[in-house]
């Protein structure tokens, strides 16, 4: 590695938060799986003076399945998600994103909090978590606060986390009984590929009406985002092909993709329209 840094390896959460708080003007970064951060340091995009390794912080591991909410620790790895039958039942979109996430070694070490905090517009776990109405717990030595994931991103690679805070917990309400929660990753290949267009959808229905609609998009805007314009068209209505087309069009209009090495902006917009239509129509069919 080219850029030297100091490394603290605390063995509990209090130690980790204290290490993050003791900056003394240094640039201090928390280190979880390192699957983004070590690469960024090697490329000179991040230049920390000190890192706080979180491997020994057991408080950041574990999952809770309460009667109303599911909660997972920030250091839950992508592979941990895949090994949990409860997560498979309770968050199918998250499992689909986890299945196609990076390669085996990256899934084994990359964490949920790290994927969120990386701020990448292509972060695959974020669209599913947005459609699950996830909430983050941000903890520092001085304070603990909760924040909706929907309010976390402020702009391209800008987030609401203060440098002395950790994302300690991610939680979301259990899905309603009649609901479908799904994710589609469009990429050049299935394994270890950066997402060209990612679409996650949650639909819930009661009495022939769509009661909840959540649609979130990756890789087609500076941040992973919900398209509330499209959601609002669906909620409270009985869905028809025409209405689903309208929502797909609204999603395509709301996104702001760019041309890059993986795809053109036009292609991304086209695939947002097609995938939104396909996922919403498929979910509605399953609910009928």
């Amino acid at each position: 590695m080219y850029a030297p840094f100091e490394l603290d390896i605390p063995n509990d959460l209090a130690g980790a938060l204290a290490a993050l708080a003791n900056g003394d003007g240094e640039a201090v970064l928390p280190l979880a799986g390192g699957t983004n951060l070590i690469v960024d340091i090697r490329a000179g995009r991040e230049r920390p003076d000190r890192m706080v390794g979180l491997d020994g912080v057991d408080e950041l591991k574990g999952m809770e399945f309460g009667p109303e909410r599911i909660a997972i620790g920030g250091r839950t790895t992508v592979s941990d998600l895949l090994r949990s039958p409860e997560i498979a039942r309770e968050a199918p979109s998250l499992v689909e994103a986890a299945r196609l996430f990076g390669g085996l070694m990256v899934r084994n070490t990359g964490t949920v909090a790290g994927n969120i905090a990386s701020g990448s517009p292509a972060a695959d776990l974020v669209p599913p978590l947005l459609t699950l109405d996830a909430e983050l717990t941000l903890q520092s030595a001085a304070s603990t606060r909760t924040l909706a994931l929907d309010d976390y991103y402020l702009g391209y690679k800008q987030d609401a986390r203060r440098p002395d805070e950790l994302i300690t917990r991610i939680s979301w309400p259990r899905l309603p009984r009649d609901s479908v929660n799904t994710f589609y990753k469009l990429a050049r290949r299935k394994g270890d590929a950066i997402t060209v267009t990612g679409v996650a959808v949650t639909l819930a229905a009661a009495g022939g009406t769509c009661t909840t609609a959540r649609i979130a998009l990756a890789s087609v805007a500076p941040v992973v985002r919900r398209v509330k314009e499209a959601e609002a068209l669906l909620e409270g209505r009985a869905l028809t092909p025409a209405l689903i087309d309208e929502a797909a069009e609204a999603a395509a209009e709301a996104c702001t993709p760019i041309d890059d090495i993986r795809a053109s902006a036009d292609y991304r917009r086209h695939t947002v329209r097609a995938l939104t239509r396909r996922l919403v129509a498929g979910a509605w069919d399953r609910l009928a």
């Binding site: 030297p4 990076g102 390669g103 270890d192």
Partner: protein
């Protein structure tokens, strides 16, 4: 600056001491200690050439800091077996001709061991998904998939003691 420390790494069942700065990766440390069987490829977590088992879990050693591996069991491809007592995966790769230039194979065998340890009877789809973090640029994946399926069968027949 970066503090330097003496740490003990447990590699293939033996303790080995080295003096490393905080920013030294496990890949760099292993090669510095002479474990040239661990290969350096992309250093970005894309190619898997540097994969080792850390307490039985496959990781990219290029993304792991050496200090963080202290106290854990590191297994390289040489720790699985050698010419005198090859691991069923090593035998199957040789029998199938699954290696061309061979550079990716140490990492692929480590990933394969992790795949089989978690699922003794992997489907071809399980093998493909499990190898999604390993690149072979000689393009020879078919024989690699066959070798892993053969080794899994062999290991099941042996009673799964590996």
């Amino acid at each position: 600056m970066s503090e330097t420390r003496n740490i003990t790494l447990r590699i293939n069942g033996r303790g080995e001491e080295g003096r490393f700065p905080a920013h030294r990766t496990l890949l760099e440390a292993l090669r510095q200690l002479g474990h040239m069987e661990v290969k350096c490829g992309c250093e970005k977590g894309d190619c898997g050439a540097c994969a080792v088992l850390l307490d039985g879990m496959a990781v990219d050693s290029c993304l792991t800091l050496a200090w963080m591996a202290a106290g854990k069991e590191v297994t390289t491809v040489s720790g699985l077996g050698d010419l005198d007592a090859p691991h069923p995966l090593q035998e199957a790769f040789a029998d199938s001709g699954a290696a061309q230039c061979g550079y990716c194979i140490p990492g692929i065998i480590i990933a394969a061991q992790a795949i089989i340890a978690e699922n003794p009877e992997p489907s071809e789809d399980d093998i493909r998904l499990g190898l999604s973090g390993n690149l072979c640029r000689c393009t020879g994946y078919t024989k690699i998939f066959e070798a892993i399926a053969d080794a899994a069968r062999e290991m099941r027949a042996e009673g799964g003691e590996q």
